[in-house]
Assembly symmetry: C2
Homo-oligomer: 184 residues x 2
């Protein structure tokens, strides 16, 4: 599923979005989320605070928008020639990213500035889209493959649940074991 | 796992906790979370704002504390005489509570005012404790039973992932299907 940009790419609106997103990322890197304000972001992005309020509502919604953009996969999953290998590699990388301090912070941002659940739904759609590519490749190779919903429940959900709720060490072996328990 | 109270039950400290928690719940019921402030909560609870700040830090942490208390199960899961029946009933009720508007709001509160992950961990510990009771009963009946971690990954995680990330209708049949796919 292609991401639907809120704006024409290349227009003034896209430039504003890019400079505000960049400003948020720079300020968070420099000084963390604590104490971040819309006027600080606006000053760094060289726009007025009202531009930010008009477009994003408040700081939480802006942080959520930045988070969803950061959680967007950069490329389709690599083709390793077999579903198990594709899923192993993808699940390991997904867990590694999501369980990192930056990943955890982005997930929380995406969830918290999200009155209508749209951002969280977008995060989930990214993962579903990646799985779908791998499952369709498997079908083309005539490999037996589970359904998309089953793969979401059995591979993505446990990893995300642990990242959010269970402060346990999350290893590549854990990611691989979920894949192995899913496949025949 | 018994909840560890932050204070001696029955002391002044416990009375303050109870009246502040009650004040939060009343105010949220009456007017929602938007615009809620610590001074408003303190006034309703007849304590000073500094009492609240000293004990809870800020509004987010207070909301998280109230949420975790609300998510605490009130009783051990019912004994239906067979693991499948126990898990069906428990999963249906768990999903029903978590997917309700109040449940979703409490989960978000618990996650967002949670700098160290302690509240989210407590929510997860509640679910794990309930599953453990059912799995131990199954062992006493000599029923075959999965491990606790597998049950968390296969039943609790998919429900919580969908509640948080996937705006799809969540039915009792879905909860039961997760149990059926877990059991032999």
């Amino acid at each position: 599923m292609p991401v639907t940009p809120a704006t024409r790419p290349g227009g003034r609106s896209a430039r504003v979005q890019r400079s505000v997103h960049d400003a948020v990322r720079e300020l968070v890197d420099e000084r963390g989320r604590e104490g971040l304000t819309v006027p600080m972001v606006a000053a760094r992005a060289s726009v007025t605070p009202s531009t930010v309020y008009r477009r994003w509502g408040d700081l939480h919604e802006l942080l959520a928008d930045v988070a969803v953009e950061r959680l967007r996969p950069e490329a389709p999953p690599k083709d390793h020639g077999a579903l198990r290998d594709d899923l192993h590699a993808w699940a390991e990388q997904f867990l590694d990213e999501m369980a990192s301090p930056a990943g955890r912070a982005y997930i929380r941002d995406a969830l918290s500035g999200d009155p209508d659940g749209r951002n969280a739904g977008q995060c989930s759609a990214y993962a579903a889209q990646q799985l779908k590519v791998m499952l369709e490749r498997a079908a083309e190779r005539d490999e037996p493959a589970p359904g998309l919903e089953e793969a979401m429940d059995r591979v993505v959900a446990p990893m995300m649940y642990r990242v959010l709720f269970r402060p346990s060490p999350l290893t590549a072996e854990y990611a691989r074991s979920l894949v192995d328990s899913l496949l025949p």
